[in-house]
């Protein structure tokens, strides 16, 4: 019962901050709401039993990516707000309508098909010592090659970002 209350509270905060991120006029405020949103998502991960991922979320998202966004917001001088150039109302209504339609569809799918009980999967063969150990075990045994590919992707992205942001080559 307490878990359900905690889940709904955190979910309400996550959704509320997400709406604020999308709807505020000021970009800096938007970034700050994004930090709060990420922190509440991390709390949700703890509630779902994924402590390692919660730590990763706080470190990478709230610590790294948001600082990157803040740097760009401060480098980019936002004098003329982009929203004021041209009437965005047509697109606004279209976007909201599309999103509402898809949300209703997804809700109908979950309401109709998801109510049946989930089949219990057999226990994992590895000895469970803790969440972090478990994730690390899987990451370095079954998913070693995707792990290495992700490291290459990060390296390429780093080089690409430096090349793009350099003033002249």
């Amino acid at each position: 019962m307490g878990e359900a209350i905690a889940f709904y509270t955190i979910a309400a905060f996550v959704l509320g901050f997400a709406v604020l991120v999308v709807s505020t006029k000021d970009t800096v405020h938007s970034v700050l709401f994004l930090v709060l949103d990420f922190l509440f998502v991390a709390a949700l991960y703890v509630l779902l039993g994924a402590e390692f991922l919660a730590a990763i979320q706080v470190l990478v998202y709230a610590g790294g990516i948001v600082v990157l966004y803040l740097f760009v917001v401060m480098l980019v001088n936002l004098k003329g707000l982009p929203e004021e150039h041209r009437d965005p109302h047509r697109r606004t209504k279209l976007g909201l309508g599309l999103a509402a339609a898809v949300l209703v569809e997804l809700g109908a799918i979950f309401a109709s098909g998801y109510a049946r009980p989930v089949p219990q999967v057999a226990e994992a063969a590895i000895p469970v010592v803790g969440n972090t150990e478990e994730v690390g075990w899987l990451l370095y045994t079954n998913y070693l090659i995707p792990f290495e590919i992700v490291s290459m992707l990060l390296l390429v992205a780093m080089i690409g970002a430096i090349v793009l942001a350099k003033r002249e080559l």
Partner: protein, 93 residues
Amino acid sequence: MLLSAALFMIGVVGVLVRRNMIIIFMSIELILNAVNINLVAFSSQLQHTVGQVFAVFVVAVAAAEAAVGLGIILAFYRNRETVNIDEMNLMRW
């Protein structure tokens, strides 16, 4: 699951509605977060850790995407002095 779907939809609305490139990128981060919530929820429901491993991969890819995307925004701003997505029509045919 419904939370994840709702967060995803807010992100999609952000991509479609806003005209500021930085906010559009933040909306993409929201979408990726929704996907992560979904993965972790399945992982906890099925008592299996693979979902969390995939979520770690999603976080890494999101970090790479954010770095490259913000680099593009900086390069674009340096050329055009704006972050309005409607001005980004250089490659329009």
